[in-house]
């Protein structure tokens, strides 16, 4: 068997939240590995910690225990700025609720992901527009998120994630709030990123995302990952 590049390697992750002095364990002992060119779908009911897991894998939060390597980088051992750099250059996150900047237009939201790079303003704008056009909302680029439909907002969020051509894509219900047609388009773009660029894709879903598109499917239950089915 040829050794593949591990884009993501998480070992024994634990995470709890505290409410009114009471510990609420969310992730008890989660380990997973995701290689380049691989798609992993994690299913689970609402409130089982899927989004929390994604936050931890994306370096947005810190686990109580365990180790997460993103592209060979131990996320616990690096600074917040290095984590930001990882998210900028290597990891793209699609959030369940889009997380668009409300006072920035569609194209500005996409451009925001390119602001730290070497592209000049004109190239940035051109690239952002190209991605928005690719996702079918080239005619709404100057609209604010509030002026877009839910489906259009989701497309902007996907464009913002893919515009940097990340090697690791973490998607939280990427087709959760969109119509089947839009969902299919989004899935097609994510699959293309995996197929064309060898990106690794991790999707968490409570059922809206077709699990058949995944190379592997796991289920998160009671804070533990287990094989689905």
């Amino acid at each position: 068997m040829t050794e593949r590049t591990a884009m993501l390697d998480a070992v024994s992750i634990r995470k709890s939240f505290w409410r009114s002095g009471r510990e609420i364990p969310v992730l008890r002992d989660v380990s997973l590995r995701l290689d380049a060119g691989e798609t992993l779908v994690i299913t689970g009911r609402s409130g089982t910690g899927k989004s929390t897991l994604l936050s931890l894998l994306g370096g947005l939060d810190i686990p109580d225990a365990g180790r997460i390597d993103v592209c060979g980088t131990d996320t616990a051992a690096v600074s917040q700025d290095r984590l930001a750099e990882l998210r900028r250059e290597t990891v793209g996150i699609i959030f369940q609720n889009f997380n668009l900047l409300p006072s920035w237009s569609a194209v500005e939201n996409v451009e925001a992901a390119l602001m730290h790079g070497e592209l000049g303003p004109a190239e940035r704008r051109e690239r952002a527009i190209r991605w928005l056009e690719r996702l079918g909302i080239g005619d709404r680029i100057e609209n604010l998120p509030a002026e877009l439909s839910v489906g259009q907002q989701q497309r902007v969020a996907v464009a913002r994630t893919l515009v940097n051509e990340p090697k690791l894509i973490l998607a939280d219900e990427p087709t959760g709030d969109v119509d089947p047609e839009t969902g299919a388009e989004i899935i097609a773009h994510l699959k293309a990123a995996v197929a064309d660029r060898g990106a690794a894709l991790l999707v968490v879903t409570h059922g809206t995302y077709p699990v058949a598109t995944g190379d592997r499917v796991l289920r998160l239950r009671d804070g533990i990952l287990e094989p689905a089915g």
Binding site: E3, T90, S103, M115, P227
Partner: protein
């Protein structure tokens, strides 16, 4: 592969070579951040306006407060700045003068300095201009016999207007009346000098009878009221000095003046009559220098400088300049303190506003961090976002204050007939605007620090 199964990790060296991963701690360009800050201001105009107007009110009120303080200080300065700000300079005569021999005096008269005077008298011309009646007559100042001082000293002092507001030559000579042998002092001053002469000798307001001398008067004299009473002098009387009759045109009551004399003549008349009583005539010389200092606060510096100029000189001053200078210093301190307070106020206001904005925008900041913005970029963005309303509000507030201020009648409120220096207005306005900008930057920087302290996930959970 199932959950929890471990495979060897391979670092993404290949990816790095492809240029996808660049391990550079990049931050967004200032230009992009400024554009983002400007966009934020445009898209949320009411919040921006509220924030900027807060700065404008703070700066406007601050500028008005500073203007009132500066105005108050100007008034104090006008009164206290000239309190006791004068002194006289003279150089005591050598002790050896009395022991000079006739031969030595003859040498002096011919322009040669006797060997024993060589070391001590570098610039003094006093000895060769000794009075003919050595026993009774002399150049004096405050009961002390003095040397003569060259006019060159005047020029040196006039080159330093920051220290000396006015300097004037003065001759003060003790004479003996050949008729009855009584002694009296003759003072020679420049009547045109209205700065250094009045506080040290006398002024037109000291006239109790008659009129004051004019610069071109000749053959006319003022007499001190006590001397006039003692000698039975009145207006029109003649006072004869060196055989020259001077008509009394005024009686003065100068009170406590360091250089007051019994008989006052114009400088040129005094020069003539005194020269007749000397072995050699006076030429561009004086024995007392009258000095008016620029203001009470520089009195010490002015006296120190004068000691450098007249190295053998003594200075006689009034001590009342000291409390005046102290009060003026305190007043200036209050203005500085108010300015600092204003800056702190602007910064505190800005900080409060920015912190409120950050709380409101925690989620947005979390989004920016989630898509890879560095903490430095967020910090800078926050600083710029705070700077914008600070600058706009500061400029508007300062401009409004500058426009309003001339119409605020400080004279009406204070009852003091004084005006604020027109040049002070733009200076105050610029100071106010600058303080708002500084306050905005400080507030933004502090708020920015607070904004990047939280983990992005925690910020993203805010709704």
């Amino acid at each position: 592969m199932g959950a929890g199964r471990r495979l060897p990790t391979v670092r993404c060296g290949i990816l790095a070579e492809e240029g996808t991963v660049k391990h550079v701690a990049a931050s967004a360009a200032w230009r992009d951040l400024a554009a983002a800050a400007g966009r934020e201001a445009r898209r949320r105009p009411w919040r921006f306006a509220a924030c900027a107007s807060g700065y404008a009110i703070a700066v406007g009120m601050g500028v008005l407060l500073l203007a009132a303080l500066v105005f108050s200080r100007n008034i104090q300065s006008g009164i206290l700045g000239s309190t006791g700000t004068h002194f006289i300079v003279y150089s005591p005569a050598c002790a050896e003068v009395a022991s000079l021999t006739t031969a030595e005096l003859a040498m002096l008269a011919s322009g040669t300095r006797p060997p024993r005077c060589e070391e001590k008298c570098k610039v003094c011309t006093g000895c060769n201009k000794k009075p003919l009646d050595l026993a009774n007559e002399a150049f004096v100042a405050q009961q002390v016999e003095t040397k003569l001082l060259p006019f060159g000293i005047l020029e040196q002092a006039r080159r330093e207007p920051g220290l000396f507001r006015g300097v004037s030559p003065y001759l003060m000579f003790r004479c003996r009346d050949p008729q009855d042998g009584h002694r009296f002092t003759v003072g020679g001053f420049d009547p045109a000098d209205t700065v250094a002469v009045p506080p040290a000798v006398c002024s037109p307001s000291d006239i109790i009878e008659g009129a004051f001398l004019h610069p071109n008067d000749t053959g006319l004299a003022l007499v001190e009221q006590g001397y006039a009473a003692a000698r039975g002098l009145r207006l029109g009387s003649a006072v004869t000095i060196s055989g020259w009759p001077f008509i009394v045109i005024g009686v003065v009551a100068p009170g406590v003046r360091p250089a007051k004399a019994d008989v006052l003549l114009t400088f040129s008349d005094a020069e003539k009559v005194i020269s007749r009583r000397l072995r050699s005539p006076l030429f561009q010389e004086m024995n007392v220098l009258l000095v008016e200092v620029a203001q009470a606060e520089v009195q010490d510096a002015a006296m120190a400088r004068m000691r450098q100029i007249v190295q053998t000189g003594l200075i006689s001053s009034f001590a009342c300049y000291e409390p005046a200078a102290e009060v003026l210093g305190l007043s200036r301190g209050v203005i500085y303190a108010a300015a600092v307070l204003l800056a702190l106020l602007a910064a505190a206001f800005g900080l409060k506003t920015q912190l409120a904005a950050i709380r409101e925008r925690r989620r947005e900041l979390g989004i920016l961090r989630a898509i890879g913005w560095s903490r430095r970029s967020i910090h800078r963005l926050m600083t710029l976002e705070a700077l914008l309303p600070g600058a706009v509000g500061g400029v508007v507030g300062a401009a409004v204050a500058a426009v309003v201020l001339p119409f605020v009648s400080l004279e009406y409120w204070t009852g003091v007939p004084a005006r604020l220096d027109p040049l002070m207005l733009p200076l105050l306005a610029m100071t106010g605007a600058l303080l708002a900008v500084v306050g905005g930057i400080a507030a933004g920087a502090a708020a920015g620090r607070s904004a990047v302290r939280e983990l992005p996930a925690r910020q993203l959970r805010q709704y």
